[in-house]
């Protein structure tokens, strides 16, 4: 198991959120959409310009900008840090 930022996750990769380190509006928005520690997320795809990213969370699909994904740490199955993200 390894802890990486959500931005570095690959398409179709699944992980479990360990922490969301941001307050204010963004923190609130992330939490009310279900992005809290313990939630499982799967990267579903990226926009044509690689940003924003679409994820499956609980029963729905959410989109996040990459700089918003930076605040979210995720635990994923070990897979040496290759990332599709440039």
């Amino acid at each position: 198991m390894a802890e990486i930022s959500l931005r570095r996750m690959k398409v179709r990769q699944t992980g479990t959120i360990t922490s969301v380190k941001v307050g204010g509006v963004l923190g609130q928005r992330l939490r009310e959409m279900g992005l809290v520690p313990g939630t499982e997320v799967t990267i579903q795809g990226r926009a044509p310009l690689y940003d924003p990213v679409a994820l499956r969370v609980m029963g729905g699909t959410l989109t996040l900008r990459n700089n918003e994904a930076d605040f979210i740490m995720v635990e994923v199955a070990e897979e040496t840090g290759v990332s599709l993200d440039r």
Partner: protein, 738 residues
């Protein structure tokens, strides 16, 4: 009415709230605005088993914080209007996330019924929700429904009426544990709040305590005005606790609260509420569509096609109804003018009022078709994908992915219209991004600017017509996007609104939903903008008419006519009088000479009018951009509608009425005029593209934002356009383009 039951409908966006609302109330709904903000206030009435019910549709929210107007509206409505029962619509296929809002309603203590929607979709995905189990665990009725078909709606209302009539159920807040640290703090806060009676008339004390821990601006501000001393004690207590939490555990109290809410939800769901029949990871139909539709290569192509389709729908398909309306208005104008004696009154009725009403109504088919197109994209879920794909580009300029639609409609593809474009910004939920979009879409080349551009390009740059048109379309995009960036780093400075957004599953829109959506938005335009447009239309007519020519001058022109007529035999004169096209050669010559006099008279009358005097007065400034008084008057007329520029120029050059579609003769006249050259033409082109939006757009901006922003738009755009025009004209002059 006494025995009318008040209900409110609340829930997450995309949970099927509007569909249920339409199912229940049908066409019996009333849409207004909450005062001062652009959030719709929808209310509908219906009767059920002999009971009259008034249902308010609250804006869709995910939470009850103070971070967005929608959430504030929903929250304030619940505590102020105290509806007898809240119908909380919940998406069964996304239960966990949807219950987050439910959880907050429970904490607030509102009497509630859960409408468990989309049980069919959930079943398709292998999810089964045990409604009665959920009802027992939460202690409130849960009714499975399918909002699209209306299944279960009668039972839902039965339950809602039962809750509303049961006084024991009223306002019982639910206590959720937030862990040892916070629970202790909440208890001591509650003691303080209860003892001092702090905001207890509005909120349950526990709710207030939690909101203070969540750092809720609105409630904290209310507390400070209500009881400053108590507020201070509470605030210092809270900041102690949160300081401690951040130091020891590196978390904000609001994060702990959210974690425990989800914990509470999970604990309920795990008690046999939810069963998965098969693997949740399989691709849903929606995901399969997204694989193609948001694909790196295909995605943008499909998107451009769809956007172009909406554009076509708005502007081509509405052509027929627009022309019907146009011919009806002109027929009506003819009838009226035949039956009224010549004079000022007739001129005001035909040119001022009928023309103005035509101006209001002329946009209606356009707006209807556009909103219909947008409703399809919105209700099907595609618009969210457009925002998803375009966000990376629009974010550079401080805008949002959803800004693309208003830009296209306003003339991103040359020939749009800023009026529906401004109205289309309603699909944006981020306030600053929305305002920046609203203020920059009028820069685009709308359909009314095109005849003016065609006239000037045709007259002065005829060798490269297509290239110039293309250049100007690109230029408007550049100017609009750069000024959006400028606004977002000055007057609209601020952090970008979080993009965190739901991609709702694709759905087939219902016809009823589309029609209601289209109609309510169109009607709002007619109602809100109509009267003001009519008033200003009369005002502009007056400016172009009064004070008119002195009796001496009119007599002088009559004298001239008499003199001309004296040179022709009587039968020729009578031949020209009756008909519009003269038969014989002599009659044609007479008609031509008379029309020259008519033209001269119209020119002098225009020059003498308020607008004309204004144009002459402006000459001292406008000459830096190379504009003489005739151009100035035309530009003033362009404030009424940009296509008026051509006809006013025609009058100012005493050419009589010029049809904006056949303006070649006017172009020739301009080319021969010593005042005009390529430099002046270029300056005029730029000025016309970028100066103040027409007043109908201005009124729409005022209605969608505020009068302050409407005036800002007028002044900023005009100054900006003038600076551009002066720059180009002076450079042109120095480099010898003239």
């Amino acid at each position: 009415m006494k025995d009318q039951i008040t209900m409110a409908l609340a829930g997450n966006p995309n949970a099927g709230k509007t569909t249920l609302f339409n199912q229940l109330t049908g066409a019996r709904q009333h849409v207004g605005n909450y005062p001062g903000i652009t959030v719709d206030h929808k209310e509908g009435r219906f009767s059920h088993t002999g009971r009259e019910i008034s249902l308010t549709d609250l804006p869709g929210t995910y939470s009850l914080t103070a971070y967005s107007v929608e959430e504030l509206v929903a929250r304030d409505y619940l505590v102020n209007a105290k509806p007898q029962v809240v119908i909380n619509i919940v998406d069964a296929s996304n239960l966990e996330r949807n219950l987050y809002l439910t959880c907050q309603f429970l904490e607030l203590g509102v009497p509630m019924v859960i409408a468990l929607n989309m049980i069919d979709v959930a079943k398709d995905r292998g999810i089964e929700v045990k409604a009665d189990r959920l009802a027992t665990l939460l202690g409130i009725p849960v009714v499975p429904i399918i909002a699209r078909t209306g299944l279960g709606k009668n039972r839902l209302i039965d339950e809602a009426i039962a809750v509303a009539s049961d006084s024991r159920r009223n306002w019982q807040p639910l206590d959720i544990s937030y862990g040892d640290d916070l629970d202790e703090t909440i208890m001591s806060l509650m003691t303080e709040i209860d003892q001092k009676g702090f905001l207890t008339d509005i909120y349950p004390s526990r709710f207030t305590a939690i909101k203070y821990l969540e750092n809720d601006d609105q409630i904290m501000a209310r507390g400070r005005t209500a009881k400053p001393a108590v507020a201070e004690t509470i605030e210092s207590l809270v900041s102690q606790v949160s300081g401690h939490l951040v130091k020891t555990m590196d978390v904000f109290p609001e994060a702990i609260i959210a974690d425990h809410r989800y914990g509470f939800i999970k604990s309920i769901i795990r008690q046999g509420v939810l069963t998965h029949k098969f693997d949740t990871d399989r691709l849903y139909a929606s995901d399969r569509i997204d694989k193609i539709v948001t694909n790196r290569l295909l995605g943008p192509i499909i998107m451009l096609t769809v956007l172009f389709g909406v554009y076509k729908l708005t502007f081509s398909w509405s052509e027929l109804p627009v022309s019907w309306l146009g011919s009806f208005i002109s027929w009506f104008g003819d009838v009226v003018s035949h039956n009224l004696p010549d004079g000022l009154f007739k001129s005001m009725i035909t040119s001022g009022i009928i023309h103005g009403a035509g101006g209001v109504l002329g946009f209606v088919p356009l707006i209807m078709f556009m909103f219909f197109g947008i409703a399809i994209l919105e209700d099907s879920g595609y618009l969210a994908r457009v925002a998803f794909m375009m966000d990376r580009i629009f974010r550079i300029f401080g805008l949002h992915g959803s800004s693309v639609m208003p830009f296209i409609i306003s003339g991103g593809i040359a020939g749009g219209c800023a009026v529906p474009g401004v109205l289309a910004t309603r699909t944006l939920r981020s306030p600053k991004e929305r305002l920046a979009t609203l203020l920059t879409v009028p820069f685009m080349n709308c359909g009314a600017k095109l005849p003016v551009l065609a006239l000037l390009i045709g007259a002065f740059f005829s060798e490269n017509k297509a290239r110039y048109m293309f250049f100007f379309t690109v230029l408007t995009w550049v100017v609009a996007l750069l000024s959006a960036k400028f606004f977002r780093s000055t007057v609209l400075r601020g952090e970008p609104t979080p993009f965190v957004m739901e991609l709702p599953p694709y759905r087939f829109p219902t016809l009823q939903g589309l029609l209601i959506h289209t109609w309510e938005r169109t009607w709002q335009y007619i109602k809100k903008a109509g009267s003001v447009i009519l008033g200003i239309s009369v005002l502009i007519w007056a400016m172009m008419t009064f004070p008119g020519l002195s009796p001496d001058r009119i007599a002088a022109f009559d004298q001239q006519r008499k003199a001309v007529k004296a040179g022709f035999p009587a039968d020729i004169i009578s031949e020209t009088e009756g008909k519009k096209t003269a038969g014989s050669e002599q009659a044609a010559r007479l008609a031509e000479q008379l029309s020259i006099i008519d033209g001269d008279q119209a020119e002098e009358a225009l020059r003498n009018s308020a607008a004309g005097r204004l144009g002459i007065a402006f000459e001292s400034v406008s000459r830096y951009a190379g504009f003489d008084w005739r151009t100035n008057i035309a530009l003033i007329g362009g404030f009424a509608a940009k296509e008026v520029i051509v006809s006013t120029l025609g009058t100012a050059y005493s050419m009589g009425k010029v049809d904006s579609k056949e303006s070649a003769s006017l172009g020739q006249r301009l080319r021969q005029d010593p005042h005009w050259n390529k430099g002046v033409a270029l300056a005029a082109l730029l000025f016309i593209m970028f100066y103040s939006p027409c007043f109908i757009t201005i009124i729409c901006i005022a209605r969608e934002a505020s009068w302050k922003w409407a005036f800002f738009s007028m002044v900023f755009n005009t100054v900006f356009a003038f600076v551009m025009a002066v720059g180009v004209y002076q450079i042109g002059r120095l480099s010898g383009l003239g």
